[in-house]
């Protein structure tokens, strides 16, 4: 009896590993490259890059392809997406993709990642199962380019609240902008984040001033980098992943241990609990380099926002550094929307209101 039980357990343990290995081997990764070697840099233009390097699921370079559409004046991206799908490519990596190429890849069920690295490093990142989960989680939390409304509520220990409403826009991995709609004392203020650069514009007062990720434009427990958050995968990489196992705590979730890619990122480390089925965050502990807890972020009330966007509508945070205080972020009207890059510039900051429809 014991032997049978042991055999069943062994089989149960082996099956997911074999399945994962099979899935991994089946992956075919194409990377937009500036050269024909794996050490080349990733091209900024997915549609018109000089070459595509194709790797198998073990990270072995199997083919270097000249881009047949690099000189096309129009439609290079969508044609390239179809060309790669016909070659059996399941994942495409480039520094940036055009909207039409993204559309074509989606209809071909091709996964894509925007990464800035050497080609081989990018392939290793994508093949790391933890990073794959993180990138998937980013896409589940929000589309690459979208608009949303948020209410921020700072709650004091005596229950007193202070509320702010913002209109926010995001594009790609590094561009976020926000416009305050209320209260009256803050209306018209706007914030912009371009990678690690952040600015605050206060109308009638002055030009946009640089602000830092650790400050907070609204006070409370959320700081500027929480409010103008970029994709997790663009700021952190997965150092360690705890997979679902028999332990009650991990029966239906992953735990990702993330490390900041650079010193300029607001938190040195994150410990992230991820819902295994929905691939959405449940809780994040934000930590210092020495693993001291700065704050905990809880994701609640998963809601269908339409257009296949299903994500937590409420984010709560508390901090041992601000005992008794709590801040809440409520999301509404999350909508896929394409913006010009120029929307995310200092010069455009006073005009953000014109984007509201």
């Amino acid at each position: 009896m014991k032997k049978t039980l042991f055999s069943i357990l062994v089989v149960l343990a082996i099956v997911p590993v074999v399945a994962y290995a099979a899935q991994k081997d089946a992956a075919k990764i194409a990377v937009a490259s500036n050269g024909k070697e794996a050490a080349s840099s990733i091209s900024t233009k997915a549609g018109k890059c000089p070459y595509y390097l194709i790797f198998d699921g073990t990270g072995e370079l199997i083919e270097a392809v000249d881009n047949p559409y690099k000189d096309e004046k129009k439609g290079a991206g969508s044609q390239m997406a179809d060309f790669l799908a016909n070659k059996g490519v399941t994942v495409v990596i480039a520094e940036t993709f055009g909207e039409k190429m993204i559309e074509a890849m989606r209809s071909n069920s091709t996964d894509y990642f925007q990464l800035q690295a050497a080609v081989l490093d990018a392939v290793k990142t994508v093949l790391n199962p933890g990073n794959q989960i993180l990138m998937k989680l980013d896409r589940n939390l929000n589309p690459e380019s979208y608009e949303s409304y948020r209410k921020l509520i700072n709650i004091e220990p005596n229950g007193r609240k202070r509320e702010y409403v913002l209109f926010t826009t995001k594009k790609g991995a590094d561009k976020v902008a926000g416009l305050f709609l209320s209260p009256a004392s803050e209306k018209g203020r706007s914030t912009l984040r371009l990678d690690e650069n952040m600015w605050l514009y206060i109308p009638n007062v002055g030009k946009p001033i640089r602000i830092t990720s650790l400050q907070s434009v609204v006070g409370g427990v959320f700081n500027n980098s929480d409010i103008l958050r970029l994709d997790y995968a663009s700021e952190y990489f997965v150092e360690k992943m705890e997979e679902p196992n028999d332990k009650e705590e991990l029966s239906d979730k992953y735990i990702l241990h993330l490390k900041a890619k650079t010193k300029t990122v607001a938190y040195d480390k994150l410990k992230m609990w991820v819902d295994k089925d929905k691939v959405l965050p449940i809780r994040i502990d934000c930590l210092t380099e020495a693993s001291m807890l700065i704050k905990t972020i809880y994701f609640k009330e998963t809601k269908d926002f339409g257009d296949k966007i299903v994500r937590p509508a409420v984010i709560e945070t508390d901090s041992p550094l601000h005992k008794g205080y709590k801040s809440v972020m409520i999301f509404a009207k999350i909508k896929k929307r394409t913006f010009e890059d120029e929307v995310f510039t200092l010069t455009f900051m006073p005009n953000l209101e014109s984007l509201r429809q």
Binding site: Y149, E156, V165, F167, A184, S185, R210, K333
Partner: protein, 431 residues
């Protein structure tokens, strides 16, 4: 019994749910887009001046007034900010009305701070025409490259200011790579009778432009101005975050053929023409305990040297002595108009330091921000120091209590101001 328990549980649950819902309600009417928007603030500000009866500027400005140790002033201000949007066109206006009661009695002044039309055919291009403030430069207390703006008051740099009538455009382009943003802002500024006639020489159409780059995570602007209402000027500025809590910025301005008028202690007027190079270097630093430091050094080559200011104060003293002995105030009036009022501008001298330290919510005192601001005149070693307390605990209401003390030897800038202390209380309600 079980039924009652079930009903009780259900009621408790629904009450709990209602509470939870109430806690996190987000009423979508709050985000409804309306074409017409009117906002702004109402403000009451009372100021108590501690007068320095022996100072040169007290003698100059109040020589024929009764001698008092203190004077009070009351200001009632409304700032109306309205906009109307239709398609890609937007109209925007800011009107400021001040009612003031001072030792001169009641006065009222209504000023159109801004009033312009914006056309935004795309996010790459936009055009503005009308009266607006351009706010060029990166400095907090001073902006030597803000060639088309009225000067800031370094003691209150965040005050709204009146703009000029301009026609301007923005062309914006974003890129991937080290250069992330480029933008070009050309500006036409007419200076004619009744249009911007306080800017400079009239009957001139001036042209200015600003080119902005976000290059290697650094904001960089190149600016020029030409046209004749003022002499040609060229400028550049930059701003960059060194770490996530440390920012540096700077400005450099070259003013060609600057004409300075100054007087000696006898009241003889001299003219000097030269190219003036003004610059500013500054930083903003946030500590772990939420203290923000702003530090700036400003060199203004158009300003007066220490000896020139001493000559001016000495001339005022002579004029005052003449007035006391003979009742003739002609020398004092000459001093008042000297050099087209340049002596009376904010920061008339050459080298200044600005330091502001503000602490957010110290000792868990919610919504209180105490701060301390100092402006130091390096040339004559006089200074002002101002503690301030800001309270924002009531929605849309801002309370500010600020004191300023002016310290300096005789014939120094802050030592010869007409008041040696000032206490100000301001209540501002936003709507």
């Amino acid at each position: 019994m079980r039924l009652w328990a079930a009903i009780g549980t259900l009621l408790a649950l629904s009450y709990g749910m209602a509470l939870a819902e109430e806690e996190y309600s987000f009423d979508l009417s709050e985000i409804e887009e309306k074409p017409l928007h009117i906002g702004g603030y109402l403000e009451f500000r009372s100021v108590l001046f501690g007068l320095d009866k022996n100072s040169a500027l007290h003698k100059l400005k109040l020589y024929d007034r009764s001698k008092k140790n203190v004077r009070e002033e009351y200001n009632f201000t409304s700032l109306l900010d309205g906009s109307y949007k239709k398609g890609t066109t937007e109209f925007h206006a800011i009107v400021n009305t001040d009612f003031k009661k001072s030792y001169l009695g009641w006065s009222e002044e209504t000023t159109l701070y801004e009033g312009y039309m914006s056309l935004r055919p795309s996010s790459t291009f936009n055009f503005d025409i009308g009266k607006k403030t351009l706010k060029w430069g990166k400095g907090y207390a001073w902006n030597p490259v803000a060639f088309l703006d009225r000067p800031k008051d370094p003691e209150d740099p965040e005050l709204a200011r009146e703009g000029f009538v301009v026609g301007s455009a923005d062309y914006i382009k974003s890129f991937d790579g080290p250069l992330k943003t480029f933008s070009f802002t050309p500006v036409l500024m007419p200076v004619y009778d009744h249009i911007n006639d306080d800017f400079g020489k009239i009957n001139r159409l001036n042209f200015a432009a600003k080119t902005y780059f976000l290059l290697y995570d650094t904001d960089i602007d190149f600016i020029f101005f030409t046209g004749g209402s003022k002499t040609n000027r060229y400028g550049m500025d930059f701003s960059r975050n060194i770490t996530s809590n440390f920012e540096i910025h700077g400005e450099l301005a070259l003013i060609k053929d600057y004409k300075k008028r100054f007087i000696n202690s006898d009241g003889t007027v001299f003219n000097e023409e030269y190219d003036a190079t003004n610059y500013l270097l500054g930083l903003r630093y946030l500590t772990k305990s939420d203290t923000t430091y702003i530090f700036e050094y400003f060199h203004d080559a158009t300003g007066f040297a220490e000896s020139e200011m001493q000559d001016y104060f000495s001339f005022i003293d002579k004029g005052y002595d003449t007035y006391l002995s003979s009742g003739d105030d002609s020398l004092l009036r000459k001093a008042s108009n000297a050099a087209g009022g340049s002596y009376n501008r904010k920061d008339p001298m050459r080298d200044y330091l600005y330091l502001r330290a503000s602490q957010k919510e110290p000792f868990d005192m919610l919504y209180f921000t105490p701060s301390l601001t100092g402006i130091f005149n390096i040339d004559d070693e006089s200074f002002t120091i101002g503690p301030e307390l800001l309270y924002t605990g009531i929605k849309n209401l801002e309370l500010r209590l600020k004191a300023t003390f002016l310290v300096g030897n005789s014939y120094s800038e802050f030592g010869e101001k007409q008041n040696n202390s000032r206490i100000e209380f301001r209540v501002r309600y936003y709507f």
